[in-house]
Symmetry: C3
Amino acid sequence: MTDFNKSIETLQGLDVSKMYGEDFFLTWEKSDDELKGVWAVADALRALRERNISTKVFDSGLGISLFRDNSTRTRFSFASACNLLGLEVQDLDEGKSQIAHGETVRETANMISFMADVIGIRDDMYIGKGNTYMHEVSDAVKEGHEDGVLEQRPTLVNLQCDIDHPTQIMADTAHIIREFGGLENLKGKKIAMTWAYSPSYGKPLSVPQGAIGLFTRLGMEVVLAHPEGYEVMPEVEEIAKKQAEASGGSFRRTNDMKDAFKDADIVYPKSWAPFGAMEKRTKLYGDNDQEGIEALEKVLLEENGKYKDWACTEEMMSLTKDGKALYLHCLPADITGVSCDEGEVDATVFDRYRIPLYKEASYKPYVIAAMIFLSKFKNPVETLKELERKGTERVQP
Amino acid sequence: MTDFNKSIETLQGLDVSKMYGEDFFLTWEKSDDELKGVWAVADALRALRERNISTKVFDSGLGISLFRDNSTRTRFSFASACNLLGLEVQDLDEGKSQIAHGETVRETANMISFMADVIGIRDDMYIGKGNTYMHEVSDAVKEGHEDGVLEQRPTLVNLQCDIDHPTQIMADTAHIIREFGGLENLKGKKIAMTWAYSPSYGKPLSVPQGAIGLFTRLGMEVVLAHPEGYEVMPEVEEIAKKQAEASGGSFRRTNDMKDAFKDADIVYPKSWAPFGAMEKRTKLYGDNDQEGIEALEKVLLEENGKYKDWACTEEMMSLTKDGKALYLHCLPADITGVSCDEGEVDATVFDRYRIPLYKEASYKPYVIAAMIFLSKFKNPVETLKELERKGTERVQP
Amino acid sequence: MTDFNKSIETLQGLDVSKMYGEDFFLTWEKSDDELKGVWAVADALRALRERNISTKVFDSGLGISLFRDNSTRTRFSFASACNLLGLEVQDLDEGKSQIAHGETVRETANMISFMADVIGIRDDMYIGKGNTYMHEVSDAVKEGHEDGVLEQRPTLVNLQCDIDHPTQIMADTAHIIREFGGLENLKGKKIAMTWAYSPSYGKPLSVPQGAIGLFTRLGMEVVLAHPEGYEVMPEVEEIAKKQAEASGGSFRRTNDMKDAFKDADIVYPKSWAPFGAMEKRTKLYGDNDQEGIEALEKVLLEENGKYKDWACTEEMMSLTKDGKALYLHCLPADITGVSCDEGEVDATVFDRYRIPLYKEASYKPYVIAAMIFLSKFKNPVETLKELERKGTERVQP
């Protein structure tokens, strides 16, 4: 059982006032207090739900979901978060490849938002585009609200962009906080965010970027490992370095997976596409250069195939702290011999961590709900206490 | 802020009793009192929402949406209206091109309606089909209710048919009522409903038809302008003429855009397809004559290209009353240099009217909700007052 | 009007305790009391709704629908049932043809279920697959709940599998109970579950199998009729035989449609695919043998065409008890001269039974809601009484 009172106590000591009325784009745009606030509210909402207490703070209202990518997990997490708070989800299906700009974005954003309290967007396919697009939407509805077009300002939750995947990494972190018995216990722990081989091509960089962009704030020894050529966005590495210094942790990069796994407390091995290649691809898509795209894909797949030994095997795991590092993944993983011939992780490793992995994922709906909650309620402590006081049963007994 | 008490007072003076249990197909099938009732209820609902008072009059129940056309705006407007009243939207996706009849319609209509309180239909593609189809659905569920199959009779809202687009035009009118400071102030105002060039082909006629079918009732000087060959349905023109006479306004048609814009208080320039051509196209589709369709399309596009000078330019706008006519559009507009090379409206004109245009659109969810409300509640004044008295907060404070 | 008190009295006399926390897969896995419990709760919910009393027992929560087949009727029935109880439907669209297994099923099932109270699955296309898949999903979420991944265990409702179509047949039976004035009046009645010709190929066997798997428990004289080669699953026939013996009814098979219709009180003529052919097809799909699939389809269509005289004509109907047997169908029916040239039933026969057929279908949302209700509420009598006592209005008056 999650402890409601403890969450409330934590929340009371935090300054989350600036989250009210604001969007959630990137974790490093938020203060430490604000991130702690998200975890505290997530815990409080979970605690209430565990006690069959309704957390519906909206009597009606819409949560708009805008996925520019196929998605099952994040879609369901957003739908769950909205339902938890009383919002009904309405999907806007714009088509996968269409990159709309300017007038169209401004207009569409307003047209779908007359009753919208929150907008969740996933747009992670094109470097330099996703986060930009989210800001365009946010600016449009902010302006719409100021101009008297929208009665309320819908706030935005980044459900994955080209830069960060805040709901994922915040959920991952909620999980390791719980596993290690508290945020303070993460200090000095070594975490290996490493590339791993997958036969599929072009996975987004938002997870490794999000990981180094958040773990470096927690005083952890963060190692980013990948083959040469699989660099992430240099801007995010810069942020990671600065944050590590400030938090008393460390950040370094290596091209040696073993180096990263050695004595690690936590490992997060997963595939991603090289940043440089993603930039090229974005340009080719922009020019609608189909031949160029195919040529690039061929090169990338060949390059990719050279690093099949970058896998989270039992042997690799044995290098970690007591051979028992906590294994993280955002799921679905490419499991060797299960979902593909050669993949990111050995089946025995994955199997040993299945329950923790599922629990890791279970934090996401609550993290999303907490982000919405903090952007919508000026006095989150009071609102949460009021929910407990009223004690409306979620399921009739 | 919208004035709740004023709306209630207005509503008290109107006879809306015949709307109870009835559908909303065409504005000219409704009395003046009934149209005023829609605007009054729309205002009342908006006033309550602005004061954070819940307008959920349904504890559960479904709103069925049936779109035989792609749609974002109207879909979201219907979803918003349903959510506002407490209904959950369930989409029936029948496929775009399928024109079902008879047994199938009757059966499907009943099968989807066991828990349905309202059905919203958009079917505007084929002349002579959309409105007919809506009546088939309505008759089917009416019969189903009478036969004891359905516990409640779902009422129908026309979300755009081949003849009228009542939710759009009612929203447009709510907007101009507000902009001109009252319905009575529209008397004698000149409104130009004019064709405008767009590179895209085959836009529905329901907007111009809906416009002349409603504005002529308000004592306005209504001018319908279009190039030769772009006639709308003659039956609707007949109605417009008669209504203009009765209301003390006027209705005339011209093939000269400048004539229409001259001294106009309001302009509504947009593209539509010629009625005759749409009739031919419907027949060709019925015969599944693909070659004929393509040939027709070619002819129409060539014809269309001759009228690129039919555009709402700055020059055209300068002809209007003090150069400041209110510019209306149902959105999205084809904006020259923005969404296309040459289109319906100059970018500078559109930009100057962006906020009013967005506000115009913001009435649609409330207009749809009001149509549902009046068809479902026998004593709308009492029900609205009761909502205010209870004062359930939409968002917890 | 449905009688609430009578339903409650009936329910009080039944042992439905083992349904709490359990799934609903096949009717023959449930006791007589449990089936009666479903009908009683379905009636009670309907009675409350008829009196405008809300039956929302969930304040929030999700009902996940997973359709591996196109569906309108069942989809709307499930959505209606969820809405009736206060659950919001979230669709998981996995694609029609994909048959996922093992790890993927386990993971997906958990990932979509963090806020799920119920999962409804339709998967009827491949012999030996659908029911198996449902059990995989059920086992996965049961395990997820036991492992602490899921806060609640979502229970599963079989919305049609390769073996049974319990929500359909339970609705059909609710209908005949009402038509014959009580369950006890069905004893000794002759029911003909017969194959009928349809130009379309490969309809599921779950309806005839479900029919003989349930009607044989009611003391009815059940006759299964079909052309040679159109056998259903032998295991289900075995169950039907045993149940008929136990209930004091009878079960026999014939290849003569007239024999089945002779003096029948109820007829249920509909097309289905031969079990043996479906087994072959499943294998061919498994091997991805496109040529084999096409060859098989050709053979089956030819074979199918030989039995156009298997139709529910007026002549056939005249053979039944007083020429007035009750005609059942799960809809949509293939009606001769209406939906096809030659089909399952004469237009005049269908037309005469339209209202009863629609009423038959109207039980499905309530039957599904009852299955959910009994799996979620330990004391269904108390919970239902509490709903009546509170008397929350579904639609504000």
